[in-house]
């Protein structure tokens, strides 16, 4: 039960690779379609089709995903939303990864006063309810694309730093770290050579959760009306519009919502699969 046979592990690996290629493939396909399709479509994201307001998908012929309550083509708008969503995901997660791992490992390993101060800073930033910071930033600096990245990056590294620190606390009690310390290896070197590589497992699990989280946060903001502004759109903003129309135009909720979930799920499977492949502890 507890030990995994080599055979089942090999099957597991084949499965995982397949999962990676499938989810990766879907993501690439979605990205390509989202970028190319609006060019090919006869509609654009602004034009209103007054004859087909709240038309169901396919009914009016030219509107593949139907239209919204203003008669705008939902297909083109959804593709635009996907573009925005993917852009946010790529930028924000990378920033939070770098900051979070270094910060957490240093705090956990050095310990004592340094740890206390560093974690106090994280506590403090944590304690500022995130929505509040963003609402304030949006009010003070006007709604701004760059600001959304900054806000998301600034919040996500905190998670990473805490998790990494927690893990480092127990890692540094390990014998090999003690041995390294005894032989006079410098602190910086121990962190980079002995602590950080051993954090990879948990870091990959967490970055797995961070990319979709960045997407979640952006769409959450847009859902509340604080992110991407009309007539621009994102998947979150589309869902928001769909919620108010859910009883007479369910597709306005289900199509963008479903695509958002699909994208998030693919990222999750991708990251999960990568972890399984690279996590040395799982191989026999």
């Amino acid at each position: 039960m507890i030990t995994i046979s080599a055979a089942s592990n090999a099957i597991g690996r084949a499965r995982v690779s397949r999962l990676i290629s499938i989810s990766g493939g879907i993501l690439v396909a979605i990205a390509v379609i989202a970028i190319v399709a609006p060019w090919l479509s006869p509609n654009n994201y602004l034009d209103t089709d007054f004859d087909n307001i709240l038309a169901a998908p396919g009914v009016a012929g030219v509107h593949l995903f139907g239209t919204d309550d203003l008669g705008r083509d939902l297909f083109v708008r959804t593709m635009m939303g996907i573009q925005v969503t993917l852009l946010v995901a790529l930028v924000a997660s990378f920033v939070s990864l770098v900051i979070g791992v270094l910060y957490g490992a240093i705090a956990g390993y050095v310990g004592g006063r340094v740890d206390a101060v560093m974690m106090r800073i994280v506590d403090t930033l944590y304690a500022l309810p995130f929505i509040f910071i963003v609402i304030l930033l949006m009010v003070v600096f006007e709604r701004n694309f760059l600001l959304i990245f900054v806000a998301i990056g600034a919040i996500n590294w905190l998670d990473m730093a805490r998790i990494v620190r927690g893990q480092t606390l127990s890692l540094k009690e390990k014998e090999y770290v003690e041995a390294a310390r005894l032989t006079g290896v410098s602190t910086v070197r121990i962190i980079l050579r002995h602590i950080v590589p051993n954090l990879i497992g948990i870091v990959i699990v967490y970055i797995t959760l961070t990319i979709p989280q960045a997407i979640l946060v952006e769409s959450f903001l847009s859902f509340l009306g604080l992110g991407i502004q009309e007539p621009q759109t994102s998947l979150g903003a589309l869902v928001d519009a769909g919620v108010s129309q859910k009883e007479n135009a369910a597709w306005m909720l289900l199509i963008p919502g479903g695509l958002l979930a699909l994208i998030l799920m693919c990222f999750n499977f991708l990251g999960d699969g990568l972890r399984d492949l690279f996590d040395a502890r799982q191989s026999p």
Partner: protein, 307 residues
């Protein structure tokens, strides 16, 4: 242990104070006053309003006044809900939000840990895959998608459960909001538990325990569960914050008169005192949660020593 706890508790106070300072400054850095409107007020009336709300005083003085009153439980008058103080508004809406949040947290921890442990024990079997597929779905569908979809199907189409808050009474109306709020956290906790449990189950002391002839249940219950809970305990802080954030959406969608609704309304209306007050309450809750997490972490992991 007692000394450590006390010191951590004392350490939490400056944190809260810092949060208050930052929030206070950010709010006052926002352009435009709370009483700016389309209608231009005569200068004399504007001055009177400013005087009444102490907006004519220099910022440091306003701040000191605010802190002094806040310590005594008075968070000032609301700028928009004219007949209420902020403390009244929060006191009236907090219980329902806390009830909602605690139920969701409880549900998430119990279901999440159980599901994660089962998946870890049956690693790479059908059971594992089904549990993980559910967890994946839970993580991947945002709360603001799953909540309206649940409403659409369970409440509007099938009419099994009430769709909103005001149209019904009793525990049934809590069901959908709590489930919607707990789902993402269940998923995270299940995944964390599985990953960490697999890690722990591979360690030598578990092999030793099994070599002594202990059954699966005893190994989990007495040896694996505690060390495997470490990442989950660390996650309780973020989980609380996540539920707090989620409650804003859930309260909005279900029309629940909780703090989250006042928070969004206050922010959109520039109700400075209301927003500030709610932020302080939120901050206090998250700081407390993190404090508890730190203490528990030390209790269950003897390798982490109190200094």
């Amino acid at each position: 242990m007692v000394k450590y706890s006390l010191r951590r508790l004392l350490g939490a106070i400056p944190t809260l104070l810092l949060v208050v300072v930052l929030a206070f400054l950010l709010v006052h850095a926002a352009p435009g006053g709370p009483f700016d409107s389309e209608r231009v007020l005569p200068e004399a009336i504007k001055q009177n309003i400013d005087k009444y709300y102490h907006l004519d005083e220099p910022l440091p003085q306003q701040f000191v006044r605010y802190i002094w009153n806040a310590v005594r439980g008075d968070l000032g008058p609301s700028y928009r809900y004219r007949d209420h103080t902020v403390s009244q508004l929060i006191a009236g809406s907090l219980p329902i939000s806390i009830l909602l949040g605690s139920l969701a947290m409880l549900l998430a921890v119990v279901v999440g840990i159980a599901a994660g442990t089962v998946a870890a024990l049956r690693q790479n079997t059908v059971v594992d895959r089904v549990v993980m597929a559910f967890a994946m779905t839970g993580i991947s569908i945002p709360i603001f998608v799953i909540a309206p979809v649940l409403v659409l199907f369970l409440a509007v189409k099938l009419q099994w459960l009430p769709a909103g808050w005001s149209g019904s009474t009793g525990a049934a109306r809590l069901l959908l909001p709590v489930i919607a709020l707990a789902l993402p956290q269940i998923a995270y906790i299940a995944r964390l538990t599985r990953a960490s449990m697999i890690d722990v189950l591979a360690s030598p002391f578990i092999r030793t325990a099994r070599a002594q002839g202990l059954g699966t249940y005893a190994v989990i219950r007495y040896h694996a569960l505690k060390p495997a809970m470490l990442p989950i305990v660390s996650y309780m802080g973020p989980a609380a914050a996540g539920i707090l954030t989620g409650s804003v959406v859930v309260e909005q969608i279900f029309g629940i008169p909780g703090v989250g609704q006042f928070f969004v309304a206050g922010a959109l209306n520039r109700d400075y005192t209301l927003v500030l007050g709610i932020v302080i309450v939120y901050a206090a809750m998250i700081i407390t949660m993190n404090l508890i997490v730190d203490l528990i972490y030390g209790v269950i992991d003897p390798r982490v020593r109190y200094r």
